[in-house]
Amino acid sequence: MKYIDEFRDGELARGIAATIAAEVQPARRYRLMEFCGGHTHAISRYGLLDLLPPAVRMIHGPGCPVCVLPIGRIDSAIELAREHGVILCTYADTLRVPASGGLSLTRAKAQGADIRMVYSCDDALRIAQENPAREVVFFAIGFETTTPPTAAIIRQAAALDVPNFSVFCNHVLTPAAMVHIMESEGDPDAVALDGFVGPAHVSTVIGSQPYEAFAAHYHRPVVISGFEPLDVMQSILMLVRQINAGRAEVENQFTRAVSREGNRKAQALVAEIFELREAFDWRGLGEVPRSALQIRPAFARFDAERRYGIGYRQVADPKACECAAILRGHKHPADCKVFGTVCTPDHPIGACMVSSEGACAAYYTYGRFNVVVKEAGVA
């Protein structure tokens, strides 16, 4: 497979691994947070941790859009389908996210709610056009990557004047979450993170520039990294070198897709349709100021929140679940009491166990033999 196999070359990986091992300094710590679920997935799926020296520790960040969606928002989506009788169109990953009362979109669907899985928001608009007698809501989630398509579909719905289509907007912003992680301890210097593997696809849209103030202010290096395993290895090496040199810059490993400015056209489209929310509740992180988008008043008729008068009700995460600490990088999935026992990908308690990009699910699916092997004392 051209253009993919090149980024999965084991020979090259071992070369980079050897360089990393040679360059890490015994007196230093390299606690690196990969922000995106895509990176978490690549690290787990390709067994990258086996290639890294013990001094380099990867901490899985909150960059899985499904994982950070709070229970209250899923409850609202279920309410739309059940109470308001709409056809709710959603990406597949959200279907199994646990909601209140033992529900999930999958269970609500089994009980008769009209919830349909779509592969793109175009499909949702098409379903609205094909079902003029029904109200159709697209359950929009995701970071900056999935926001431009949602903006485009709202603009298209307006241009075509589709009266029975609206969007339940839950789009969130990456830089705000990174800032929140640094600020949440009170003293940014106390945060146990030495550098960030920066978002890949998100950065194709927003560019590398938005992280510059972050890196300078918090004095933490950021390396924008592609999602292929070799990308991640190279980015780790770049972070090790910055840390060794005492630098805290934004570097771009993913130059084949990311520029400093990003995709201006997509940015303009997003700005036309969306505006900043004052605050948004993130699962695990709590309320994060100016970290999400809402639909501008000019497009209010396509805003499901306005159309159906949906208010947000905060719902506490299950007590036993350590998702909050894991999403902040304080705890490892294996530190959670319910990990792999009560909480598994088949029966997720916390959101990190739902999506294949969630830290717990990735760890359960690809890495848990390491934990068990260590505990069982088997070589």
């Binding site: 497979m1 993919i4 390709y46 290639l51 990953d93 990009e357 033999f369």
Partner: protein, 347 residues
């Protein structure tokens, strides 16, 4: 001279409730479609059941059943008809059996085009003939529109297992070799490529095939084979996890040794699927003692349905019975059961 006023209209006709009512219309459909195409003396005798003698010195009998509800009914490389023959023939073959006879139960949806039904039955008849496993008895039911999706077919197969052949994952021992008969994921990707909301251009054909001549050759040459299984739903990872769980061993495989077509890998990449979880309908996994592995591999490669066979790993000592894989990247990871349904990634 036909017993019926006019023949069944297989060009424009549709299945209606009378075709399952037990009356003349049903008898005519059975005569002009099923009996005509399945065409064998046992079925021709038109009894309620099939009566047959076992081959002399037949050993033990094996019986397997498989329901088929595939959507779409027609896909690149096959259709529900040949699939329903291959699926059950393979289940018998994986038990070490030589398949002898099949039965077929049809549940038809009112309004289903008779032309499509005929196409499916002809495909089943061809597959059965090619496999040398006649369909000797069957059943037809018709349900109201919307109660089933076109046609569901359940087939049951009986066969005989020669004395001396003992297959089962409980016989797998640490050190045994794991062999795979060829490229993975072809069937699942071929089906996915034709799903209504997911059309993409691919040349991939389903690998649907009857594997009993392959298993016969393998067992003939290497009777020490410990276990055979075909990686259908849940893919290769499901079979390996079944083997691990049922044998009490762990399993270690090497990603670089697992054959996969470039187009299948690309489609899985695009859809966010793990090819290890994608269904196959014409592949098998075999486990044998290490000293027999090279010989078994040679026998497999000499058969047209396993020309791409490979040794992909070994059974290991692991009290957790995990399946693990050395990735192409040089790291290790677990190969877990599929969770839920295969979900495309969104971000």
């Amino acid at each position: 001279m036909s017993r019926y006023a006019r023949p069944v209209d297989f060009k424009h006709g549709k299945v209606d409730l009378t075709h399952g009512s037990g009356g003349r219309a049903m008898a005519q459909l059975i005569d002009e479609l099923f009996v005509r195409h399945f065409d064998n003396p046992i079925l021709d005798s038109m009894n309620d059941g099939a009566c047959f003698a076992l081959p002399a010195g037949a050993g033990r009998m094996v019986m397997a059943t498989d329901g088929h509800v595939v959507s779409p009914l027609f896909f690149p490389g096959g259709d529900i008809g040949c699939l329903s023959v291959h699926g059950t023939v393979n289940d018998v073959a994986m038990a070490g059996g030589r398949p002898l006879y099949l039965s077929a139960g049809f549940i038809l949806e009112e309004g289903f085009p008779l032309a499509d039904l005929k196409r499916i039955v002809v495909s089943m008849a061809d597959a059965a003939r090619e496999a040398g496993v006649p369909i000797v008895t069957g059943d037809t039911k018709v349900v109201e529109q919307g109660k089933v999706d076109g046609v569901f077919i359940t087939t049951t197969g009986v066969g005989v297992v020669p004395d001396g052949i003992e297959l089962g994952p409980d016989r797998i021992r640490p050190g045994d070799c794991i062999l795979l008969s060829g490229c993975i994921g072809d069937h699942g990707v071929a089906i996915l490529s034709k799903r209504e909301n997911l059309s993409f251009e691919t040349e991939i054909q389903s690998d649907t095939a009857a594997l009993h001549t392959l298993t016969a050759a393998m067992l003939d040459a290497v009777p020490s084979i410990r276990a055979l299984r075909d990686p259908t739903r849940g893919g290769l990872s499901a079979v390996l996890n079944e083997f691990a769980g049922q044998s009490g061993c762990g399993i270690a495989i090497r990603e670089k040794d697992i054959p996969i077509r470039g187009e299948v890998a690309a489609a899985c990449e695009l859809l966010g699927l793990d090819p290890l979880h994608v269904a196959n309908e014409g592949k098998l996994v075999a486990v044998c003692p290490p000293e027999d592995a090279e010989r078994l591999l040679a026998v497999m490669r000499a058969h047209p349905l396993a020309a791409g066979a490979a040794i992909i790993g070994t059974a290991i000592v692991d009290p957790q019975h995990f399946v693990q894989m050395e990735t192409v990247f040089g790291g290790r990871r677990m190969v877990d059961w599929l969770t839920g349904e295969q979900l495309p990634r969104i971000c």
